[in-house]
């Protein structure tokens, strides 16, 4: 390590590092794009396949039209879905929020009601109604390419105020809330950013470019996989759960020891 750190200060070290970096990035990039292009086109194909659109429409009419209208034009009970895009359907149906169990301040997450193929077909149908955010390319979901440190900074500026610094979620007005992001699939996190479900603001590609979104997802993944070094997390809720714990668990232990200490031995 010592030798390396000395050589690091060499005048040409920076140049060498830059060249090396460029070489690796270039190599990786060309490799990645070929793979991704293949996948992306495959994805795009599936979403524009007329069979899928037709099947999606059938599912839509049976399951969604009550609220969203027979042509997805929207009713009093549900908004129009024209132009919301495939990403929106993938998120709402894929996380089980839609179909909604009941009207409420906001749709609750629950086990998905449709399998992946059905979700894709529904998304294909809705996407065919009008242009909207598409399902993200796999390239931008590959967290290994993301920079968690940069993602963390973006997360704290753009997301933590609602979703909490540890992504544990938080309250909004009138019973609405920002959900916890623990265990949420990268594609759903991505889709939430591009579509702005419920009351969440939209983070369009002009606001956070796809690489930014990837960094944020990389941060979330890193955060979740790194664990909690101090011990049990107490729900990632910060000072409130810590205070609650010392007043319940901590004091219970202490009072038990006090009662034992002052009781007479038999």
């Amino acid at each position: 390590m010592k030798a390396l750190s000395q050589k690091r200060r060499h005048p040409f070290a920076g140049v060498a590092l830059l060249l090396l970096g460029l070489l690796i990035t270039g190599g990786l990039y060309s490799a990645a794009t070929t793979i991704n292009e293949a996948q992306a086109s495959e994805n795009a194909d599936a979403y524009s396949d007329p069979d899928n659109i037709e099947e999606g429409e059938r599912l839509f009419v049976a399951n969604c039209a009550t609220c969203h209208g027979i042509n997805a034009e929207g009713t009093d009970a549900g908004p129009s879905l024209i132009g919301v895009g495939a990403a929106s359907v993938d998120f709402q149906v894929g996380t089980g929020r839609m179909p909604m169990q009941m009207q409420g301040p906001q749709a609750q997450q629950k086990p998905a009601q449709f399998n992946d193929e059905q979700t894709m077909q529904l998304a294909a149908y809705v996407a065919s109604l009008g242009a909207g955010p598409a399902v993200p390319d796999d390239e931008y979901l590959d967290v290994d390419q993301g920079d968690p440190a940069r993602g963390g900074e973006l997360f704290r500026i753009n997301c933590a105020m609602c979703h909490n610094a540890a992504a544990a979620g938080g309250a909004l007005t009138e019973g609405k809330y920002a959900p916890s992001l623990h265990g949420v699939e990268p594609r759903h996190v991505y889709a939430a950013m591009t579509t702005g479900p419920q009351n969440m603001p939209v983070f369009s590609d002009a606001n956070l470019v796809p690489e930014d979104k990837r960094d944020i997802i990389a941060f979330l993944q890193t955060y979740e996989s790194q664990g909690t070094p101090g011990g049990f997390s107490l729900g990632f809720l910060g000072p409130v759960s810590e205070g609650l714990f010392i007043w319940t668990g901590g004091l219970a232990l202490l009072i038990a020891s006090m009662v034992w200490l002052t009781s007479r031995s038999s």
């Binding site: 933590a160 979620g169 309250a171 019973g175 000072p239 668990g249 020891s257």
Partner: protein
């Protein structure tokens, strides 16, 4: 100090040197004693008696937490650098790599990730701080509800209350030191509250932050307060507190053999010293266990302080929670009428931020009331005697009810401090919780007062029943004619004494002063006095007790009647 006037003989002076210790240990002890006067210390403390009850240990918990705070805090100071100068993070925590941050935050991270045992010490320090304030609070509640603040301990109560406030100060300054987003927003709130103070507020804020918020001065200043000024003051007050405890001797619960003139318990040597000393290790052990297994203040989550970000669930440590809660409770507008007032002045108008100032009132009243309560109570009750025997809370129903009312009020503010988490975890609307809490803030204490007072009086009546007719023995008897009755077991004198030996004065009417006039203030006092004592349950008198014994003797099988007169507030 009449002892100083005593005349000593020459032999007494010489005796000091003539004593020859026999063992090595004795020689060392003698060496020290002839130089520091240990004999008198041992004579004073060696067999000093301390009463033993688990509720007396909360003060010790606070003291021991403070010792642990000093120990762990000293460790932290070796690595922590409170400077707000910027640096680029290069420690081992990957998600913050390369970020610009203050040295304070960077060294706090270094302590957590790159100093072995640093994370443990940080967690120990923080958990001990939470426990320190919690233990002080419960200790004060214990003292309040048992009436241990009465003469001659009023001043020591004030010392204790000051310790609580210093503890809050030490806690808050410590919470702010790491300079991350969470504590930075806490300081932001302090800044906003300071600025709301009329006339001086803005300048206090300037002087604290060395200019406009946040500047680059505040962390080192808080650090000096946190590691020097506040701990020194706490230490000094603890010394005074303990000195007064020794002077007064500890209070004790009423019980057989206990009187106002004695103290019953275990001697310092060896039992009490062993228990109290051992308890230090127990408190330390429990805190270490918690610190090793439960994460506290994961400051790497929050990121370096920057005025732009904020996070959901932005809360202070629990003891600042009520202050946070009462700020949330206050509406800024009543209908369309803003509570932010502008006083028109020739130089352009001065602003009064009533939505920030009004919530300071209840908190200030609670703390002020805490300081002066001993004098308020003794003024109302006209009780001027020394009180070394504690009240059982039920035997002081009005005080207990009043205390519970204040605690309820405090709890509502406290709960409001976490209303967003209550909302998400119980699927409620944040706004509804706030609306309800605004009602409960006023109504809750009233309900709590009435309920507590009724419960106390019922318990006192139950005590009377038990004293007069004994315990239910749990044995059902069938009489010859088929009736069922439960056998009662009469208490022995030791059990009985605790139930009957309390004072329950009748209200004293307004007294004329030296000029023979009854002042308005005296009338007010008399009204408070009546409120304090009118719902009284008198202790069992000797006549009643003898009558009950007589009754037993004649009809040993009969179920006792429910209560005997003499309870003025009884309504049947």
């Amino acid at each position: 100090m009449s002892a100083t006037k005593e005349k000593y003989t020459e032999e007494q002076y010489l005796e000091v040197d003539q004593y020859q210790p026999k063992t090595g240990g004795g020689r060392i002890a003698n060496y020290v004693d002839t130089r520091v006067g240990g004999t008198s210390i041992v004579r004073e403390f060696g067999r000093k008696v301390f009463p033993d009850h688990w509720t007396f240990m909360f003060g010790e918990v606070a003291l021991y937490s403070f010792v642990i705070l000093i120990l762990s805090g000293t460790f932290l100071t070796f690595w922590f650098d409170p400077s707000m100068a910027t640096t680029r993070y290069s420690g081992s925590y990957a998600p913050l790599q390369g970020l610009e941050m203050s040295t304070a935050y960077a060294t706090a991270l270094e302590l957590s990730f790159d100093v072995r045992g640093g994370l443990f010490m940080r967690q120990l320090h923080h958990w001990a701080a939470l426990l320190f304030v919690a233990a002080m609070s419960i200790h004060m509640l214990r003292v309040f509800f048992t009436g241990a603040f009465r003469k001659p301990r009023e001043l020591n109560w004030v010392v204790g209350a000051s310790l609580l406030i210093l503890g809050l100060g030490a806690g808050f300054t410590g919470y702010s030191l790491p300079d991350e987003v969470l504590s930075g927003n806490g300081l932001r709130i302090i800044d906003g509250m300071l600025k709301a103070l009329p006339v001086v507020g803005t300048y206090i804020s300037f002087f604290l932050f060395g200019g406009e918020f946040p500047g680059s001065e505040v962390i080192p200043r808080l650090y000096v307060m946190h590691i020097m000024v506040l701990p020194a003051m706490i230490l000094l007050l603890i010394a005074i507190h303990l000195f007064l405890v020794v002077t007064h001797k500890h209070t004790q619960y009423p019980g057989p053999g206990r009187t106002e003139r004695n103290v019953v318990g275990y001697p310092v040597g060896p039992v009490y010293a062993a228990k109290a000393g051992g308890f230090f290790f127990i408190v330390f052990g429990i805190l270490a266990l918690i610190s090793g297994t439960f994460q506290i203040n994961a400051l790497w989550n929050y990121g370096p302080y920057d005025p732009s970000p904020v996070q959901a669930g932005a809360q202070p440590d629990w003891y600042i929670g009520p202050f946070e809660g009462v700020l949330r409770l206050m509406p800024g507008y009543l209908g369309d009428f803003s509570l932010e007032w502008v006083i028109p002045t020739p130089w352009g108008g001065n602003s009064l931020a009533m939505p920030v100032l009004i919530p300071m009132i209840p908190v200030a009243l609670i703390f002020l009331g805490m300081f002066v309560w001993p004098w308020i109570e003794s003024w109302i009750t006209k009780d001027t005697k020394e009180r070394h025997l504690l009240d059982r809370p039920r035997n002081a129903p009005t005080r207990t009810a009043f205390g519970v009312a204040i605690v309820t009020n405090y709890m509502i503010m406290w709960g409001m401090g976490s209303n967003d988490l209550i909302a998400t975890h119980f699927q409620l609307s944040l706004n509804d919780i706030t609306y309800w809490s605004r009602v409960l803030f006023f109504l809750g204490p009233v309900i709590a007062y009435i309920l507590t007072k009724r419960i106390c009086l019922s318990l006192q009546r139950k005590d009377r029943e038990t004293a007069l007719h004994g315990d239910e023995a749990g044995v059902i008897q069938v009489s010859a004619d088929g009736g069922f009755s439960e056998k009662h077991r009469r208490l022995d004198d030791y059990e009985l004494w605790t139930l009957v030996s309390y004072d329950s004065p009748e209200p004293t009417p307004a007294q004329p002063n030296a000029k023979g006039k009854i002042t308005l203030l005296e009338k007010f006092r008399a009204r408070l006095n009546r409120a304090f004592y009118e719902d009284r349950v008198a202790p069992v008198s000797r006549e009643e007790y003898l009558e009950a014994l007589e009754h037993d003797h004649h009809e040993p099988e009969e179920l006792p009647a429910s209560g005997v007169g003499a309870i003025e507030s009884r309504d049947h």
